[in-house]
Symmetry: C2
Subunit: 294 residues, 2 copies
């Protein structure tokens, strides 16, 4: 059993850390706020700083909202890096910039420590049920060391390549999911406006090359007008911002990702920041002055 540091006790981090404790590991943590009672009762050990977490633990996991938070947690004066010693392992499970990740990994490596980027998909439900998909970038040795620990949090765990490759895979995933939602939205809206029954059209499409998990799950949400999250539009906006920022840094043009982000912005303008991301179809519906199921 390992001594594991865990920083970032939000909606995702709290059940993930809980699953590590349930798995028999000792979990050290630090937070600016309060440590959730459920974790304290389970035996989580509070520390005075990120540096203290890194001194107590052999593996330090971070699960925070965005790139600047990871940089802060790792590299501020009393942050994780200040407490690391040779041979320790830093595992960032946040969804952040693939470009910044390569820099963070180099700075951690310079301290004689390994770094893995290991963003997840599957949301709060997957975090609680320990069924997260985990996309990993880093060395095979570090991956092998973490694998039994990842398995306490997730199910579909892949080492994609070196540092940053886990993060870029997460970005690629969010691009495809957003654009496939947009595609299903355009298709079902056009069919509905032409007078067809969108439920029957969806059913017919599921037999062919248009089929996807998005057509099955999000297509059904569009037909049934079921836009309670699920995965909130404001979170997908963050992910597409990451995609578009990364694309700009790398010199890649992502025309349909850009449009999808604008459609999410339009949803937010209509009070939809907390709708399920399948609600993107509503931005298309506003333009068409028509709703599926009307």
């Amino acid at each position: 059993m390992a001594n594991i540091g865990f920083i970032g006790l939000g909606i995702m981090g709290t059940p993930m850390a809980g699953n590590l404790i349930k798995g028999g590991h000792t979990v050290f943590t630090h937070t600016r706020g309060e440590i959730p009672a459920v974790l304290l009762e389970a035996g989580a050990r509070p520390c005075a700083s990120g540096a203290e977490v890194a001194r107590q633990a052999d593996i330090v996991i971070t699960m925070v909202p965005d790139t600047p938070h990871v940089e802060d947690v790792l590299f501020k004066p009393d942050g994780v890096a200040a407490g690391l010693s040779k041979g320790k392992l830093v595992v960032d499970m946040s969804s952040i910039s693939p470009v910044a990740t390569k820099d963070f990994a180099r700075r951690i490596n310079a301290l004689g420590c390994e770094y893995l980027d290991a963003p997840v998909s599957g949301g709060e439900v997957g975090a609680k049920a320990a069924t997260l998909t985990i996309m990993v970038g880093g060395s095979e040795a570090a991956f092998d060391k973490m694998k039994p620990i990842f398995e306490l949090m997730g199910k579909n765990i892949t080492l994609v390549g070196g540092n940053g490759d886990g993060q870029i895979t997460k970005v690629a995933n969010q691009i495809i999911v957003a654009l496939n939602i947009e595609a299903v939205g355009e298709a079902l809206l056009l069919a509905a406006k032409a007078g067809a029954d969108p439920a029957k059209v969806r059913q017919a499409l599921m037999g062919g090359f248009a089929n996807s998990r998005i057509l099955e799950v999000h297509g059904e949400r569009m037909v049934k007008r079921s836009f309670d999250p699920g995965f909130r539009i404001e979170l997908h906006q963050k992910d597409l911002n990451l995609a578009l920022t990364t694309a700009r840094q790398l010199g890649v043009s992502l025309p349909n990702t850009a449009t999808a982000q604008e459609l999410f912005n339009a949803c937010a303008a209509h009070g939809g920041a907390k709708w399920d991301h399948s609600g993107m179809v509503r931005a298309l519906e506003k333009m068409a002055n028509f709703e599926i199921g009307q």
Copy 2:
């Protein structure tokens, strides 16, 4: 066994008509060009005009390139309509305008005849193997009458709704397929330019919500640089033109379909009209000045 008229003996129509003859039906046909030898040898019966086909047959199938060809075949002076009598059935298996289809159906109905729109997907391979997907619009009675005949040509046969609903389902299918190809292209290109191995990224994505038949089949084509058709860009351009024209007629905005069409246009500008449609990624690659697998 029925007397079936079949007009449109192209790449798709020839094997489809052949399968009807193999199934024991008598096939009457008319073409401005030459009737393929393979059909004459199998017993196809040439007629002097579309009107003559309609007089000889109880069911008349059309399988021609686009909306104006269907209108011409049905309604020119010696066309199909001129030879129809009450109780006959017209089945248009071409992929054409859903809006025009409703008009054609009304004009055929006015002659006391039923009309089905029944576009297919599955291409030449599906036509030869009798594994086409057939999306049908029209009455249940006409569908039931045609079903055993459809089953000689296809496998996944769905009555979606009334006239036009088969065509709009085909259009919806082609929108989703094009936009999912575009999505996979944006995602894999960004990942590759970031330095990740696109084959491994694709593999990792196949476990989650980004998965689709397009990621499996067309994603693999992008990684392996295998752009021999398959389904040609110039054919998908025709389908997206139908989508965009229909959208304009109905007052629906399809922003990503419009962009996908422009990307196909860019491929055509680089000599790619006959590439497989997964070659759409090459238009994105031109913009990024970078190729997947580079």
